[in-house]
């Protein structure tokens, strides 16, 4: 039987640790992805993911279900990402090496992919990552939540605490900047 998040939360609050494990299993990957795309560092993204679930676990008794559990988790994760960026006092670091990293490429290679395709895919991914890192935090967050986490405009507005129209404006502005940035790069324009 598949429990909903809310049912698992209720069971966790009653002391069923397996239910919380199930929630972690269900959400660890989306939270890690959100953290990585927001702060751009694998190790720190993992720490944020870890800390998110720790805080969620501690905060379970106070969770009253006013929002969806996933929204609550996203809010915790985003706050942790903001804290991290505040501590860094600068834009997220993009750890893109100048040259092609063959070891990384070998690890990421898909079975039927030629080395040329692999290099191109890796380059494109790095270009997008760099372009995203140049966006203002609000625009980047809006794009990540919409594009990669699949939240609705309303959910994003609730999550970041701004009007619905602001979310759409941030997305429009962010995508427009990205269009300009990506157009500068020969890797993306040639494909």
């Amino acid at each position: 039987m598949t429990w909903t998040d809310e049912e698992l939360v209720a069971r966790s609050i009653r002391g069923d640790s397996e239910s919380f494990n199930e929630l972690v299993l269900r959400w660890e990957r989306p939270i890690y992805s959100l953290a990585y795309r927001t702060i751009g560092r694998e190790e720190d993204a993992r720490d944020v993911c870890q800390e998110t679930f720790l805080r969620a676990f501690r905060g379970l008794p106070a969770f009253r279900g006013q929002a969806k559990f996933s929204s609550w988790l996203y809010r915790i994760a985003l706050n942790l990402c903001r804290d991290w960026m505040r501590r860094q006092r600068r834009a997220p670091i993009v750890q893109a090496p100048e040259d092609v990293d063959l070891v990384e490429l070998a690890a990421a290679r898909e079975p039927s992919e030629s080395i040329e395709d692999l290099v191109a895919r890796n380059d494109l991914s790095k270009v997008v990552e760099r372009a995203m890192a140049r966006l203002p935090e609000e625009q980047r967050t809006a794009i990540i939540l919409k594009e990669y986490q699949g939240l609705t405009f309303q959910e994003i507005a609730d999550l970041v605490g701004c009007p619905l129209s602001t979310v759409k404006t941030r997305l429009y502005q962010g995508l427009t900047v990205l269009r300009r940035e990506l157009a500068k790069d020969p890797v993306t324009t040639s494909r």
Binding site: F53, Q95, Y172
Partner: protein
């Protein structure tokens, strides 16, 4: 903002809502009517769609470790400890040495079975396979041990043959010296002929059985070889991931050192 667009209302918001298909049905209809008459909006919609397509190429790296769910098992402390996660590959569940030992065992069994020798003379009955080079006496003995330890499909035939030979020999009450003389006898010659025919027939059947078994073993060895090669590839891939992580740590360290300076 495109100056040639004549949309009445917040055009950017409408465009983005339409782009993500997160829009009320009535608004969609209205905007689609506008789109039909507005090349500027159509062009921008296409360009932003292309941006979205490029964004989809960005995927985070696989994390080496995830969240340890043992935290929930210790609600009193609420402590979360980094530990093995489902993100680790299943390879780590079985030690490499164990896999190598299993592969060696399969190969050893196959090779041992292929070199099977069964003798039947003063010490027993012998069948030699041609798959490998002729074995030494010691190997032959070892092969016989293997044959004796394993149940074989022709075992019943062998037992029947042995029983018949013993029975025939028991009927000849003469001592060994007399037996050599009686071998010249026609009846004994017939007996030997029948025995040879039986042995030949039995050997032929056994060789067929062995050939079948060898084919099966060869198939198993090939399958295991393929599995081992895949395992090696995965190990190499894991090593690559570890090196990548090391590279990133070094990179991170270099950035931090640069900041301190």
């Amino acid at each position: 903002m495109n100056t040639t667009c004549t949309y009445h209302g917040d055009r950017d918001e409408m465009l983005i809502a339409y782009l993500y298909d997160d829009i009320e049905a009535a608004d969609r209809d209205t905007y689609e009517r506008h789109l039909a008459a507005c090349p500027a909006c159509r062009r921008e919609l296409g360009e932003l769609g292309a941006v979205r397509d490029r964004l989809s190429r960005w995927s985070p790296p696989e994390p080496a470790r995830g969240v340890d769910r043992r935290a929930a098992s210790a609600p009193d402390t609420g402590r979360v400890v980094v530990g093995p996660s489902r993100w680790l590959t299943p390879m780590t569940e079985v030690p490499v040495w164990a896999r190598a030992a299993a592969a060696a065992l399969v190969f050893g069994v196959a090779a041992g079975a292929a070199n099977l020798h069964v003798t039947y003379d003063t010490t027993g009955f012998s069948v030699r396979t041609g798959w490998m080079a002729p074995a030494s006496a010691g190997n032959a003995a070892a092969g016989r041990d293997v044959a004796q330890d394993q149940p074989v499909p022709w075992g019943a035939d062998l037992a029947a043959l042995e029983a018949r030979l013993r029975s025939d020999m028991r009927t000849s009450v003469a001592p060994p010296a007399t037996r050599v003389a009686s071998a010249r006898d026609g009846e004994a010659a017939d007996l030997l002929k029948r025995v040879r025919a039986l042995v030949d027939e039995s050997e032929t059947r056994q060789e067929r059985e062995l050939a079948l078994r060898m084919a099966e073993i060869a198939t198993d060895v090939r399958a295991q070889r393929v599995a081992d090669l895949r395992t090696i590839e995965r190990i190499q891939s894991n090593t690559g991931v570890d090196m990548m992580r090391l590279y990133r740590m070094t990179n991170d360290l270099a950035v931090r050192v640069a900041q301190v300076r």
